[in-house]
Assembly symmetry: D2
Homo-oligomer: 338 residues x 4
């Protein structure tokens, strides 16, 4: 941390800052420029507790220098982490392709979806059983019954299951049916849920909060990892901006930023980003070209009658076509399909 | 809902849309303008389930017309709802003043804080026992022990207690010590928590999510109310924008917007909005002038050594001075102090 | 400026950075912490030209420490600047009240508007003659003819005239009729226009860009001041955020932030912020309570038939009522009406 | 346009709305649903002038249905427009590649840059002569002298010249040296400049404003086209969001959105979006994969000593490598290099 003194600060002000640092067992490095005096803090900032230098006389501002996450950082694992879900490997050359309906609606629906995405080439079946919905009057999901159906469909087709949990007491139940648990955008800072899913040791797909910075996202991953669960895959799904042409704004730059700062794999969800099925192909190709480790895409056997987010789900046929295009592009950017 | 047809849509396209509406038990009203054909949907949109007209041929877009919240709406209670917390009344002429430290840190600290805010004139003691923190390595709160100390301090001074819960299994414990439970900004769309706090029937202080629209906020209130708990007070605490001069951007316009659309009382938290104690007085006065029903402000006996959010906490003395100013302003805008 | 070295940077990397500083005539202050090495830059950063340390080996990032504006800063004029427009004084105890229609539409309309706002108590007549409109097919203003009518109406009522210029070759013409020139939000970074209005020495009302930070805004003011024109009044008029309930989000916190960082007066435009006339009273009171030096409000003799921005214009009667309320509040916050 | 009546509106309210429409020569189509009454407006909305129905009794809101741009719309030219700059064609199968330094700094610098980007395969030389800079104390560009040098360098290498104008009286001068004029992000709503560049009939590269919606951007293009200049190429260069990891957030979704709504070609500027040279390759590939018609990239013979925006400029070598990668990817998505 760096403490920048105000233009008109006195020597006394600076001395008091240095003294306060000493009281907390920290050293100081003074840099007196022509325009500003700067105090570099030596030692572990954590010793400060909540002590705030910005409240001291003569202090202009404090500038943090270090990230607060450690396990999630690139420095801790320069070659990048690999997340294994059974025999599936995420974070190496192979792209991971996840697909399935927004919500599990019936045995027929999830079975048709599973068959469709399997035929296209996907390796993970996605589908919501516990749905976080903006209005209490919207369909809230089939819960455990939905998970059972999804497991059954996935087993029949040889797919892994990834599904969202929205409360910590669903982890045990969901863990019985799922190979990977998703933490949704709205729960990215539900720290209790993050800790519990960290303790559960099941691989986690951590979506970025709708208005979370990359730094906050990596801090959220750190919550999971600090409980000993390093099997975390990040998922960018669009952020909230002023633009309304798309449901959210896909932050494709998050891919190279995350690759630089973190060792964790990152995949893209173009369906929630776009909110409209006709933009999904374009965003999927952009994501893979940018270096994403995979895609999670909403596919429904009959989007028009879907019970949630109908506008953003592809038909299995459209998904199959997209899968081929992604495959062709993957080769050019040094990747291959799972 | 209104369905706008594309410029080049055919009569057949329109007929299919009308047919689809009929299949769902809904009527249609056709409006053929010189520039666009518009289909007004007659009947309850809920009958559509997830059916999405935007996926049909010739459809440009669907425009929702109605709010999804009902109990929280102004129409349901044109005179405005009153929330009672014991003998305290929120939502009428009297302003409610809540104050206390960001986090409970020790018996001494919370007792001094309680005495300070009581002396100034506050009626509610706030203080965090379960702290949602961005990093897993930050101080996470004293939990139940903190609640006990807060209750003790509040009782000694004749104050009500309001404190945050961050998981649904904390509601029972917190309910033993608190007069009002706070749902924090990060949990505004933790729908499970909203439902459970709705079932608990304890008065709720519902903070606005950092990037939630007013409509989403009222939908969140609807979750609580749909479980039978109408004692909900809204709290605006700043939204995330591009501006970094303040921690968040206080959306003071939310006050008249909420007053128009909803029957629920709304208070302002200038501490989290500003993130800097030196802006709190200015924002507090603005909030009351705009029509807010009260203020929740962070006050710490010794802000410099606070264990969290030190920069945004006032001293009891500064709070006392602010309280007087708010009182003077209240009279001019037709309010009075509690 | 501070240069933060990467965790794994070598002594050689640091030496090269110091060497590069020396080549530019700058000194270095080294601070080697347990977690990071930091190089404080000594001397005037301007000597660096465009040299970028972030491109050097081992450099994590550069952190700027100083503002780029000087004349607009609070340090240069700790007591605050006063802007005089004839005998009117902006930036002291008296609030400045500006009002008038969005656009000048006819002699009758502007005369009625002038009489209405004068009767209420305003001292400045506003009105657009050169209108910046999003679509080329919208009404673009009456141009010089409009300015003539506004001058005539203002003279008849004893008001000052403030009106917008959108191109630098309008300054001479507008200067013949106006007492103060407005630079609109869309032109806040039209640097050519800023320079020319700086050279013209006419008082300037500088609106904040719809997505400009306070720092960028003060840099824009610096452009005007650097040409020798210190008569600049800032005007906050709402920023663009994700919220759509209001046209823009009024950033009321900008008032204390500007007061702290800059010596320039700041007024608020609640009409453009709200976009709806029914929220204007609430935001006006909030602005004055927060410490603003005045208000500029849209008033039209017959808002329903206004040729632009009808929804956000008040009737003269509504403005008169609001004026009285603002007057009552002003006294409580240590201000008085002009 | 659609007028939505309030829940409690009366038949009289509705009648008055219909009457007001008739007075303006417009028809009405009434749709009385179980929850809301909706009035569809028949005829050309332009007849309304500024008349605002939201100010009438019983009206909830007005919902616009049509775009305000016509010439820029996809409907007007379903196959897409082609922009010709001499023998170069933008908007068909070939990608257009533009590159060069942020600012022209000297004859040597621009000549080396031209040779470098030509060797890599680019067809347009970019370079700023009139620089819009946030601070008045930053380097403002070499102006006409810079344009001369750029023309000379481009002619020596067989390249087209594209450069920015920031005021309308620069158009004639710049037109002597440039093949294409750029309107920068800060001037996207400098309507006077748009009109004048429209009249000048020189091809235009129109950058998106930092916080402009796609709709506003197309309205800006309409300004240019409404003066008879249809040679407009759009350029997405990142929008302002809360995320600070990149200078701006590249809105890659704008590519499919623009392709759907408009007939104009769209290219991407990854340099300004990223603000850091190390992210440019990733974003360039994403842009082309998403369907962009080309790229404009900052290339400087010696980025470290660049006089502006050093951090985001590539070396000619890095640009050459990137050019090859883009070429490989282009083939997979059905494009080819110019």
């Amino acid at each position: 941390m760096i403490i920048v003194m105000k233009n008109g600060s006195t020597k006394q002000d600076v001395d008091k800052v240095i003294e306060a640092l000493k009281e907390h067992g920290l050293g100081a490095n003074l840099s007196t420029g022509s325009q500003a005096t700067i105090v570099g803090v030596l030692g572990d900032k954590a010793k400060l507790g909540g002590f705030d230098f910005e409240l001291m006389e003569g202090v202009e501002k404090c500038v943090p220098i270090m990230h607060s996450y450690k396990l999630a950082s690139r420095e801790m694992c320069p070659d990048g982490r690999v997340v294994r879900v059974g025999e599936e490997v995420i974070g190496r050359k192979k792209l991971v392709m996840m697909a399935g309906p927004c919500a599990v609606e019936s045995e027929d629906q999830i079975m048709q979806a599973a068959e469709g995405v399997k035929a296209a080439g996907a390796r993970f079946l996605r589908g919501g059983a516990y749905k976080p919905r903006t209005s209490p009057y919207s369909f809230q999901g089939m819960e455990e019954e939905g998970l059972k159906l999804m497991r059954k469909a996935a087993d029949a087709c040889g797919l892994k299951v990834v599904s969202e949990v929205v409360a910590h007491d669903q982890i045990d139940i969901a863990g019985k049916y799922c190979d990977m648990l998703q933490i949704g955008a709205r729960n990215m800072q539900n720290f209790r849920l993050l800790r519990e899913v960290g303790r559960a040791k099941i691989p986690v797909l951590l979506k970025r909060g709708i208005s979370s910075t990359v730094e906050e996202w990596l801090d959220a991953a750190e919550y999971i990892m600090s409980e000993g669960n390093y099997n975390v895959v990040l998922c960018e799904r669009g952020i909230r901006t002023f633009e309304t042409a798309t449901r959210n704004t896909l932050d494709v730059s998050a891919v190279p930023v995350v690759k630089e700062r973190s060792s964790l794999p990152i995949i893209i969800d173009p369906s929630h980003a776009a909110g409209k099925s006709r933009y999904i192909a374009s965003l999927s190709l952009a994501a893979v070209a940018a270096g994403a480790d995979g895609l999670i895409i909403e596919v429904h056997p009959n989007p028009k009658v879907a019970m949630s987010d109908a506008a953003q789900q592809l038909t299995p046929e459209a998904y199959g076509t997209l899968f081929q295009k992604v495959g062709a592009l993957a080769q050019v950017v040094g990747r291959e399909m799972a």
